[in-house]
Symmetry: C2
Subunit: 205 residues, 2 copies
Amino acid sequence: MTSRTDLADPRPRRGRPGYDRDQVLAAAVQLFNEQGYDATSVADVASRLGLTKSALYHHFASKEELLRLALDDALDALEHALDRAVADSGTTSDHLRGVVEGAVEVLIARQPSVTLLLRVRGNTTVEQDALRRRRAFDQRVTALVREAQHEGLLRTDIDAAVATRLVFGMVNSLVEWYRPDGSVDPGELARDVLTVALDGLQSPG
Amino acid sequence: MTSRTDLADPRPRRGRPGYDRDQVLAAAVQLFNEQGYDATSVADVASRLGLTKSALYHHFASKEELLRLALDDALDALEHALDRAVADSGTTSDHLRGVVEGAVEVLIARQPSVTLLLRVRGNTTVEQDALRRRRAFDQRVTALVREAQHEGLLRTDIDAAVATRLVFGMVNSLVEWYRPDGSVDPGELARDVLTVALDGLQSPG
């Protein structure tokens, strides 16, 4: 990575640091997660990047647009993982494994935007739209769990909606404690979640 | 419930509604959960109750005191549940069951203050203290899981700290979706969490 103040840099100097949209969005999401969306102003985001507010408005029309893009990023990826899992040939059991593995991958790859998604409370239209998409996602997974119960693959003494919420409780908890630089391998984590969800922690012996 | 403006009410009228400390605290916690602690002012809490700011300061010295009391309420109850579970006679397995059942009970009985606790990010001393207590709680449960692994009760192919976090991911998710007026029975919920955690969702057949 070359420094922006590198004297050998032949590019003309600009009046403001040359952040692209993705970098501005990433800084906004980080601030929203640190101090809450409501408590964060566009001026806070600009100041974090050393930009003026008007330079930031050059990229984004409003704070709400930043929120919508971040939530869409998380939701698009989760829905895509679900679509891909159920499009695979294989049994309902394979599909469910695929959904859980895919969701763990998305949470790890997009931890900041998924963290933001999971904290959304529905105070604005953007947040309400995101909550609707989360509910639709949950309902599709619940339908899959119910199908697996009917096929005799999953136990039927736990309600399908409760089972889905408990498994996603494990998956979603990753955004709180998974550290990319930590000792836990992402692939191993997906296997661990599936092991607990399907076989439980009790010693198989 | 009689109305405060009931003409037949023989009690002398007061200059402000007679809320006690618990009611003021409950209103504050509700607001913190709705719009975030940082985004909530003492004036917001007072206005929610129809009190003046000075009437509220009659009960509490600061917004931080409200936060500390709410977080202590959740943490005291969780630590008490853990103490009680391990003080019981019985095997390590019984103790672990007791911890999970106790935590589910606390989450259901104190949903607002536990919700607040789980959203704490450590922006203030009060929040940092709460995070320290949460970590100490997690470490005690992890030690219990490790003991159960050594005793051959729990599988050893999942790290004890990861197993603890996944199980508490399920437990903690309850604050997001459990509704006291809903169709899910609290006792059944504790059994469901234990069933998934210990035996998994896979059909036992």
